[in-house]
């Protein structure tokens, strides 16, 4: 298996992609997707919730398994929502996480933000969207919905519905309900 798809022909600028790692199955899913990307997507910056050590270990495992070592970095931000956290305190902690996310995006200025899950996804995308509206950096926000979602979008998917540049789903049945989504096949 090779991730070397379409070598950047010298002219295209190397894209810096930020991956947003959620917890558990979401991390596994996004890392499978990331592992297929070619070397033009370097350096990579992974963003993970500070408490999510399992995801951080999985990222290191993936990057260490790549034979041609690329530059990568893991940045942690506060988690926007713990499981079972109340709605009101979620709003506050998400806002707090957004404030953390802005300098991260200003430092790395990615061309693409790729995300798929809960946790850190919303603050990073919120910050990316803000910088885009302020003409600071044109970052493409790409959300990939989990394979678990067959009939309805996840909360993150719904929240990003009008903010993301692309929303990819892994079951075509979702297209009936959510016209902005795109189905390019099952990815994981």
């Amino acid at each position: 298996m090779s991730g070397e798809i379409g070598e950047a022909g010298g002219e295209a600028e190397p894209g810096e992609t930020e991956k947003v790692a959620g917890g558990g199955g979401h991390t596994t899913e996004i890392l499978r997707i990331v592992s297929s990307l070619g070397r033009q997507y370097t350096p990579k910056v992974y963003i993970s919730a500070d408490t999510d050590h399992i995801s951080q270990d999985k990222i290191k495992e993936l990057e260490n398994s790549i034979t041609q070592k690329d530059r990568y970095e893991i940045v942690t931000i506060p988690r926007s929502r713990e499981v079972n956290q109340s709605w009101m305190s979620t709003v506050l902690s998400t806002f707090y996480a957004c404030v953390y996310a802005i300098p991260v995006l200003l430092t790395h200025r990615p061309d693409v933000v790729l995300c798929n899950g809960p946790g850190t996804c919303i603050p990073i995308c919120g910050a990316a969207f803000l910088l885009k509206v302020l003409y600071v950096k044109r970052t493409r926000i790409i959300f990939v919905e989990s394979i678990c979602r067959v009939k309805t979008l996840s909360l993150s998917g719904k929240m990003l519905y009008y903010f993301a540049d692309e929303l990819l789903v892994q079951w075509p049945s979702l297209l009936d309900l959510y016209g902005r989504c795109r189905y390019i096949g099952r990815l994981v």
């Binding site: 798809i5 499978r32 070619g38 989990s146 099952r186």
Partner: protein, 171 residues
């Protein structure tokens, strides 16, 4: 199915990190074990998760039972099983189908409305797995024909790479 009769066949029952004692209790009933034994199985490995279930029964109706609560990876247990009986958790379901093992997903009716069911239901509709509740598990076991199950190939992450290359003008 034409299983080689000399090889002993085993079932792996897994509830992940959930609490699903009812499934574990169902699997160790003499009724259930009798049916399993009659269709050629002689061993059951149970991953019991967070439930309060605790037992030192090692043998029911000619079936050898093994228990544990958690392991870092259940890949080996899936790999050595001839049939997997699992809760509806997406991770376990996908891992089992990836390994090409026949699977019965048992719905925990106490967790209805859980979005994880969406995936298991769809995979059942598309013929990739069997679907039961604790009360219909025995009937499912008796009536299922594993040869009717369709393989569920892994998705293709490379499609995403192609998509992104095109979007960013790399290709």
């Amino acid at each position: 199915m034409a299983a080689s009769s000399s090889k002993s066949k085993s079932v792996f029952v897994t509830v992940g990190t959930t609490c699903f004692d009812r499934l574990i209790m169902t699997v160790i009933t003499p009724d259930f074990c009798k049916v399993l034994h009659s269709i050629g199985y002689d061993k059951v490995v149970l991953q019991a998760g967070r439930g309060i279930f605790d037992s030192d029964v090692k043998m029911v109706e000619g079936l050898q039972l093994e228990y544990y609560r958690f392991k870092n990876s259940i890949a080996d247990d899936i790999g050595s099983a001839d049939l997997v009986i699992s809760h509806a958790g997406a991770g376990t379901v996908l891992e089992t189908l990836d390994a090409g093992k026949p699977l019965i997903v048992v719905i925990n009716e106490e967790l209805m409305g859980n979005h994880q069911l969406e995936l298991a239901e769809q995979l059942y509709t598309n013929g990739h797995l069997f679907y039961a509740t604790c009360s219909t598990l025995v009937t499912t076991l008796q009536s299922m024909n594993m040869e009717n199950l369709k393989p569920f190939p892994r998705g293709e992450p490379s499609k995403f790479a192609t998509f992104l290359d095109k979007l960013l003008g790399f290709s």
